[in-house]
Each structure stands twice: as structure tokens, then as C-alpha cells.
Amino acid sequence: MNNESNSNELEPLNRAERESHEVIDNGPSGFASQLKGFWVTFRTMFKKVNTVQYPEVKEATAPRFHGRHQLNRHPDGLEKCIGCELCAWACPADAIYVEGADNSEGERFSPGERYGKVYQINYLRCVFCGLCIEACPTRALTMTNEYELADDQRQKLIFEKEDLLAPLRAGMLLPPHPMYPDADDQTYYRGEVPGASPLQENIAEPNK
């Protein structure tokens, strides 16, 4: 074993020796050839600039860029995540931590029985491979184009569910609230729920 590792170490040295050849130093080059070199630099000054003055100027990313994750909502505001942990299972970097829990009649966060009670992504670990969003059976987890994920404390780079949840848009109600009248989880998955109904709002009030 020892011998083996030794020969491995020696190998690159031997090769370098074999391949090396003498460098001939001719002293500084002539003025003309220097001018020729600087001409390239000079010419480039008048070309179109590719870099931008980040962070003052920001460029849009490619549309399918893998950025920060987002936990999506159904049109009425209920969460799509069912806490199944399939994303955590798929993650090669072990960056996701999920704990599921029961939806109860009084406290409903998602259609169906189960929702994600704890949801964390550790951006110190995530390699933005996107395997998690491929695994998600409900399209709850997608990736946004947001790439500014730097901070000065490790703690702050573990994103909690609140940090990852999509914002409430028009027609959405903040869960917990009951399902759309007469709808069940199937209706939700088929995309038949248009948005929160006033009925839901009334019942949701006391929970807020």
C-alpha cells in the first residue's frame, strides 16, 4: 500500500522531467513587437463592453437559470407542498430538511391530509443542481432566477419556509384556511380552483 502511494506521488514528477525542455532567453523583445502587443489592448477599448457594473447594474439571467428555490401556492393561497420529503430524498447535497404534519380542519395549510410543517434549505450546501424540483410531485418546489445568495453569517443561509414561500398574489389568502367550497385535493391538483372565494375568507378570519 505504501509503495503504491509512493509511486503515485512520483509519477507526475517523472513526467515533468521527461517533458521539460530548456527555455531560451533572448532578452527583451524589440520595440516593434511590443507596440504590436499593446495595439491589441488599445483596439479593445473601442469594442462593445460585455461586463456590467454589478451591483449597480444587474443583468437578467437566462430564463431557466437555477436560482433560489420557491415554494409555490395554489391560486387561493394554500400551499402546494405536502411535506413528502421527496425533494430531500433526491438532494445529492443533503441540503433540504422537511418535517410533514397533519392538516386539521381548524388549521389547513394545503389541500389533502399532509403539509410541510418545517421546510429548510441550506444554501451553504445547495449546489443548484435542480434535482429537488424534478422530484417534487406537486410542483410545489421550483427555482427562481434569484442568485444573490451571499450573507455574512452561516445561520442566515439556512432558509426557512417563510423565506421560501411564494408571495401572496391577488386572489390569494394567507393560510391556514379551509379549502375552496366543495373542492377536494383532486380539484386542486387538476387546477380547477380559480382563486380564494369569499366563503373561504369568512371562515379563515378567526384563524388569522
Binding site: 405536502i82 420529503e85 430531500a88 410533514g100
Partner: protein, 796 residues
């Protein structure tokens, strides 16, 4: 799943090998295999390592052939079955040639077809299903199913999920109708609480609507359900298999000694499963062992506490607390009370600590009603050969004395029930009434409260009979002696079954006043010398130590001024125990805040079972070793803390680790040489109870499996299946009082009263039975007596 089952089957089949067994050779997939006559084809294939897919088959349940997943091609002496056959129902026969899915395209096609049919109505629930990731249906659909479904119709749906009990949920859509759960409940538990209803596509598991679901074993159905149709309410949606770190463990709840598996996620126990030990719990456990573990992370003590000048317990540092404890224990005359829940290593620590650090034999592990007769009985008992579960399997008769197996040691109940069902084992019980457990065991119940000693001598036994004595028999003076005599005269095997997991171990570790480690008599000078030599200590105290009751008495009188306690609830001993403790300097080693904290002067936090290693001795005397499941805990085992405390006192016991304690204790061996003296000091007279007058009754009680026990706190789902808390009285008495089932009655004496709904039962007409430690029924505290005393019984 199946590896476990294979292993199990091998053990069970090798057990039957007393008489010459006829072997049959068959060919499976071209390989020859010899198996005992009667073996099922599916098992014969397992022996070769050939796994036939299956759902309903379970080695401990009778075969039914319900799921049809195990179809194989079978040919006997060249004659082929026209269609593939279910290998889990067909026993091997000479000349049999079996071709499984591996070699027969017909069998493979049949299995794929069955799988496709099973999946037609199976919902796409995997992401929300607790079984996902450890599901035999998922696995076998991958290994033995077709890739695509051809079904385009609408799946059958049911309302999701329904509660079978407060702790078991049923999702009928997921059920594949394998009947494992119904067979378990009927064949193993003897509580037919669920059944298969309806037929065809609508067939479903249902509950008996009229009978309440109160099985103590329902958790096993969750474990054996091959899909996620039955799930446990407390584990629901909590984790996936890949989150869990599983550690083999042992159950701390009773002396049955179940093998357990603890599943921990991030330092927290999320579930426990029954382990597989065919010589003990087979593959089962009771619901308490499975679901009572939240005590591990509720109300835990995190730092030592000291009572300050103003009488409040305040947090202190370890050095400060240890110094304070050491001071208090060394300047006063001190005694030790060890709870019945300690591991054998911890009990040994207490035992050695008492002898060396405190120089006393005043130590007792019996934190319950106990007697001196019992102490001698226990010393004498260690002489006898040990009795095991296998003896129950072979017994011609089982006698239950002061012992209610279903409530006090449930796996023994299952074992007896198995034999009752299989071969009509004869069971007799000496008990105040015919309990539900007795009914299931078809036991002959001798109901004669107050004359137990006389009745014990009347049993006619042989040397194949087994006498199971519960710890409660100690409450009847003379009864233990009578039981011992009965065993001696008839040659029957006698076993003592404590309720708590640690008592048998504590006994052998010498955590009792009359015995030293290794069952050596304190009174025997040679035995003392043995121990002195092994410990390298000075002379050991020579006087037989005080018992629990005597220690408490001495506390009251001020003869003992300091006490070291390890996990004791004073309410378990007597109503006045706490007052005695108040007077003394008490050092308490505890895992949680408890009643003891009220009176303790120093509280030292110790590790719970999941956080430490150690072993319990079950009732058979068999060590149930376990390792720490939570490895990064800062808590330490009692024995380690005792060792530091002894150093602090200046009389070291040198038991720095659990391993060291185990090794040292093992090196003593069994020193129970001469116990004649213990036997001789037994007496067989029963104290007479006055005949109850009108409106009076003789009180009897025992603890229910699920009750107010402190290790069951914070488990509402579990508590939901406790047996009802009722007082049992006879028909006669009910008529006299003019009450019917469910009416409230008042049980009282000069100390207090208990009001309970009544249930008319087959009870000794002079007696009344109530639960000993349930919500509204704690007779030891309310009436200052738990059994064999007169109480008045009137309509409330």
C-alpha cells in the same frame, strides 16, 4: 421485511426439532432443498435464498392465500398443476418441482397480472403515505410488477383516513386485503377488533361497531400491514425511513423483555418497533412499549438542582451539587431506594454504593407494596432453575397467582394465548374476578379473596406445569410461601414476574437488604468475604438491611436521616411515604421533574434509556442488552454518577462506565450456594380478613397496562385505548345497591373515597375490584390501601 421473516422462520422451524422430523426434498428452480414435512413451499424457497413476492404470508400467522402474489408453477411427480399455485398455502410434498418467477414465464406473468390488479384500485398516495420508502408494495411493484398500468378507469375511493382507535388510522383505499391485521387480531392478540367487511371491489377492513376497540396490541397491525393502510397516529407524517437512525434496543416498560428497535431523527425518538426475538416476544410488542416514549423529551432535567436556604430548588453546577450531596450522605445515617426501572448495571452501582460509600445494607429496589416474606422468597427463588417462555410453550398447565398477564406482562399473555389457541393449554388463575384477559385465556378462575393461601395448596400439578407468580402475591401474607411449597411438592416450575423491567436485575445485583451481588446472602460470612475480596474493600456491613417499608418507617422516626433514591415515585409505595422523605436529606437521581423533586435536597439528572447503554433482566433472567440510540446526549447513566459521587465521599466504587459495571458484576457468577436459611424463615399463615358486613367489600386492585404511569405521560393517543376505569362488583351486590352497569358508586373508608362507574362482573361476591393507578382511581393515595382491606361500597 422478508429477511426478518426468513430468519424468524428458521428459528421457529429449528425449535420443533425435538423428535425425529421427517425431511422432504423438493426442487425449486432447479436446486434441491430438504425441509421438514409440513413446510410451506414459500419457506422452502426462502431456504435457498429464492424470494417469492408476497403480501399476506406471515410466518407467525396461519396461511390464508388472500393476496395471490406468491403464485408459482408446481409439478408433483411429473404431474403439473393446471394453473400457478399460491406457494404460501401449499406444504411441500415428495417429488415436488417448483418453478418460481425466476424460471417459469407462466409464474412471472401470473405475478405481474396479480400486481397489476392490486394496483388498479391503489391510490397514488406514495408521497403522502407513511409507508413510502419502506413499503413492500412499492418494492415488489418495482421488482415483480409490470412497468405500466393498462387501467384507464376511475379508481375506487373511500373516505380517508378513519380512526380504528385513537392510535391506529385506517386508509381503506390503500388496503390490499391481505388479512394480516385481522388474522393478527384474532390469532395472536385474541381481540377480534377488526374484520374484513363486504365483498368484491368494496371489500374493506372495518371495526366492530358495538365493541370498543381496546386492544393492547393494535400497534403490531401497523407494523405488519404490508402497505400504508394502517398507520400510527403518533408517527403520522413525522419522517421518512431515510431520516431515521435505527438502533436495536430493549423495552423499559415491563419485565416481558421485548426486543425493540428505536428510530431516532435528529436526537429524538420518533417511533419504536417490535424487534424480532423468537425466544421472547417473537415479532410482537404491546402498545405501551411501542408508543410510550415522549417522556424522553418532556420535562427533562437538564442541570443539577440544589435546595437553597429559602427552600427552593435552584440550578447548580455539577461540582457544587455533588459536593453538597456527598456531604449530606456522609454525615447522616443513609439508606438507598432504587426504583424498579434501573438497568442491571445501574442497580449494581446502587448496590455497591450502599455497601461501600454508605456502609449499609439498607437498600431496596421494591418501590411498591412489599413484604419481608417476599424478600426471603426472592432469595430462595434464585436457587431454582430459571423458567422461560419455552417452558410455557411446553407446559401441561399454567397457574397464575396474583398475576394478570394481559395487564402486567403482556407478552406472557400472548405466549399463553398462543398455546391456548393452538393446543388448548389449561390455564387456572387465582384472582378476584374473571377479567377480560382471563376470559380470552379460557382460564378457570378461583375467586376467593382472603383465602388465597388455602386455595394455592389445592392445585394439582405435574412437573410440566408452570406457576407464574406476580409481584402482587406478596400482598397476601403466606401466599408466596405456599406457592413455593406447591412447586416443591409437585415439581412444577415456578417463576416470579415483577411488573417493572428493572426488578429482576436489581435483585441479582444485590440492590436489596438481604442479598449481595450474585445472589449471595448478606448473613453468610463466606459470601461477604467473596465480595470483599472482589471489591478489595474493608469488611462489609454484616447486618441484613432494612426493607422499603422499614426504611420509610425509620425516616419517620428520624433513625435514618439521609436517603439516596433513583427513579422512585413515593406515591407507589404508600400515601405517607412522602412525609417521611420530607424529614430526610434526599439525593434523587432522576430523568425528569417528578414528585421526588418536591422533597429532594439535591437532584442529579441522569440519562433515559435511549441515551445510555445497559441491560435489563427480563422475568426469565435473560439479559436484554441495549446500546444508546441517541449517542450525543450529555446525560450519563446512574452508575457513572454514583461513581463520581462515591469519589466525592472519599470511598470510591470505581464504576466509571456501564461496561465496567457489567463486567464486574458478571465476574461474580451465581453465588446462591446455601439458601436453606431463607427458605426456613418463610411462614405460611395468612392474616385473616374480617368478613365484610352489609355495604362492605374487600378491596382488590391491580395496575392496568395503560394508566397514570409516569412513563406514559404526554401520550394522548395511547391513553385513548386504555381499558375503562371501572369498579367491578358482583351481580348480587349491584342488585342490593339498586345500580346497573355504568352507574357511579362510592368506595370509601376512614381515609377517603373513590367514585367510579361500575361494571358488573364475575367476581367474588365479597370483593370489589378497582384499577390501582388510573385517573380517578388511586386507592393507595385515596384510601391508604390498595388491596385486602375492608371498604364500604354505596351508590354515589
Amino acid at each position: 421485511m422478508s429477511i426478518q421473516e426468513i430468519k424468524n422462520q428458521e428459528i421457529t422451524s429449528s425449535q420443533g426439532a425435538d423428535s425425529a422430523i421427517e425431511m422432504i426434498t423438493i426442487i425449486v428452480d432447479g436446486f434441491e432443498v430438504s425441509v421438514p414435512k409440513g413446510t410451506l413451499v414459500i419457506r422452502a424457497a426462502e431456504k435457498l435464498g429464492i424470494q417469492i413476492p408476497r403480501f399476506c404470508d406471515h410466518p407467525l400467522l396461519d396461511p390464508v392465500g388472500a393476496c395471490r402474489q406468491c403464485l408459482v408453477d408446481i409439478e408433483i411427480n411429473g404431474r403439473k398443476f393446471p394453473k400457478p399455485q399460491a406457494s404460501c398455502t401449499i406444504p411441500v410434498e415428495p417429488g415436488m418441482v417448483v418453478n418460481t418467477q425466476l424460471t417459469s414465464p407462466v409464474a412471472e406473468k401470473a405475478q405481474k397480472g396479480v400486481m397489476e390488479l392490486l394496483l388498479i384500485n391503489h391510490p397514488l398516495d406514495c408521497p403522502v403515505c407513511d409507508k413510502g420508502g419502506e413499503c413492500p408494495l412499492q418494492n415488489q411493484a418495482m421488482s415483480n410488477g409490470g412497468g405500466e398500468s393498462r387501467y384507464e378507469g376511475v379508481k375506487r375511493t373511500f373516505e380517508k383516513p378513519i380512526n380504528i382507535s385513537s392510535q391506529v388510522l385506517l386508509d381503506r383505499e390503500r388496503c390490499i386485503l391481505c388479512a394480516r391485521c385481522t388474522r393478527f387480531s384474532e390469532q395472536i392478540a385474541g381481540d377480534p377488533f377488526i374484520t374484513l367487511n363486504e365483498r368484491g371491489a368494496l371489500q374493506q377492513v372495518g371495526i366492530y361497531e358495538k365493541e370498543p376497540f381496546q386492544s393492547y396490541f393494535s400497534g403490531n397491525t401497523v407494523q405488519i400491514c404490508p402497505v400504508g393502510a394502517l398507520t400510527g397516529a403518533s408517527y403520522r407524517f413525522r419522517a421518512r425511513p431515510f431520516d431515521l437512525v435505527s438502533t436495536p434496543s430493549a423495552c423499559e416498560h415491563c419485565a416481558s423483555g421485548c426486543d425493540m428497535r428505536v428510530d431516532v431523527r435528529r436526537g429524538k425518538t420518533l417511533r419504536r418497533l417490535a424487534g424480532d426475538d423468537s425466544t421472547v416476544n417473537e415479532e410482537w410488542s404491546c402498545d405501551k412499549g411501542r408508543w410510550a416514549f415522549k417522556y424522553e423529551h418532556r420535562d427533562r432535567l437538564t442541570s443539577p438542582l440544589i435546595r437553597n436556604e429559602s427552600g427552593e430548588l435552584v440550578e447548580a453546577s455539577w461540582p457544587e451539587a455533588l459536593a453538597h450531596a456527598a456531604h449530606g450522605l456522609s454525615i447522616n445515617r443513609a439508606a438507598v431506594l432504587v426504583g424498579g426501572r434501573s438497568t442491571i448495571e445501574d442497580a449494581y452501582g446502587y448496590s455497591k454504593f450502599a455497601r461501600i460509600a454508605l456502609n449499609t445494607n439498607d437498600i431496596d429496589f421494591r418501590s411498591r407494596t412489599s413484604s419481608d416474606e417476599e424478600r426471603n422468597f426472592l432469595a430462595a427463588l434464585l436457587l431454582g432453575k430459571s423458567v422461560t417462555y419455552l417452558d410455557i410453550d411446553k407446559a401441561d398447565q399454567v397457574i397464575l397467582l396474583g398475576f394478570e398477564p394481559e395487564e402486567e406482562s403482556p407478552i406472557i399473555f400472548l405466549r399463553i394465548f398462543k398455546q391456548v389457541r393452538k393446543r388448548g393449554l389449561k390455564v387456572s388463575a387465582l384472582a378476584p374476578f374473571t377479567s377480560r384477559g382471563n376470559e380470552k385465556l379460557k382460564a378457570t378462575v378461583i375467586k376467593n379473596v382472603g383465602n388465597e393461601v388455602e386455595d394455592i395448596s389445592k392445585f394439582a400439578l405435574t412437573n410440566r406445569s408452570v406457576i407464574l407468580v406476580g409481584e402482587r402475591l406478596a400482598e397476601v401474607s403466606g401466599a408466596l410461601t405456599a406457592a413455593l411449597k406447591l412447586a416443591e411438592q409437585s415439581g412444577a416450575k415456578l417463576a416470579w414476574i415483577p411488573r417493572r423491567a428493572g426488578e429482576r436485575g436489581a435483585l441479582e445485583a444485590g440492590a436489596i437488604g438481604n442479598l449481595l451481588p450474585g445472589a449471595r446472602q448478606v448473613a453468610d460470612p463466606k459470601a461477604r468475604q467473596d465480595i470483599e475480596r472482589a471489591w478489595g474493600s474493608g469488611p462489609l456491613p454484616t447486618q441484613t438491611g432494612l426493607s422499603t417499608d422499614q426504611i420509610l418507617d425509620a425516616l419517620h422516626k428520624g433513625e435514618i436521616e439521609a436517603l439516596l433514591v433513583g427513579g422512585v415515585d413515593p406515591g407507589d409505595i404508600s400515601a405517607s411515604a412522602i412525609d417521611g422523605l420530607r424529614k430526610a436529606f434526599v439525593v434523587s437521581l432522576e430523568i425528569r421533574n417528578s414528585a421526588m423533586s418536591e422533597v429532594a435536597d439535591v437532584v442529579l439528572p441522569v440519562a433515559a434509556v435511549v441515551e445510555k447503554s445497559g441491560s435489563f433482566l427480563d422475568w426469565q433472567g435473560r439479559a436484554r442488552k441495549f446500546e444508546a440510540a441517541v449517542t450525543n446526549s450529555l446525560h450519563r447513566s446512574d452508575v457513572r454518577i454514583l461513581s463520581i459521587l462515591a469519589d466525592e465521599i472519599g470511598r470510591p466504587i470505581n464504576l466509571g462506565t456501564v461496561e465496567k459495571a457489567a463486567k464486574e458484576l458478571a465476574s461474580f457468577g451465581d453465588g446462591s450456594s446455601d439458601q436453606k436459611s431463607a427458605l426456613a424463615s418463610l411462614s405460611a399463615d395468612q392474616a385473616k380478613i374480617k368478613e365484610p358486613g352489609k355495604n362492605q367489600a374487600i378491596l382488590t386492585s391491580w395496575r392496568l397496562l395503560l394508566d397514570n404511569g409516569s412513563l406514559q405521560e404526554h401520550e394522548p393517543n395511547l391513553a385513548g385505548t386504555a381499558h375503562p376505569c371501572v369498579a367491578v362488583i358482583s351481580d348480587d351486590r349491584a342488585n342490593r345497591l339498586g345500580v346497573v352497569d355504568g352507574d357511579l358508586i362510592k368506595i370509601s373508608n376512614s381515609n377517603g373515597e373513590i367514585i367510579l362507574p361500575l361494571q358488573i362482573g364475575d367476581i367474588d361476591p365479597r370483593a370489589i375490584w378497582i384499577p390501582r393507578n388510573s385517573e380517578n382511581s388511586r386507592p393507595l393515595l385515596a384510601l391508604k390501601s390498595a388491596t385486602h382491606s375492608l371498604v364500604s361500597v354505596v351508590k354515589a
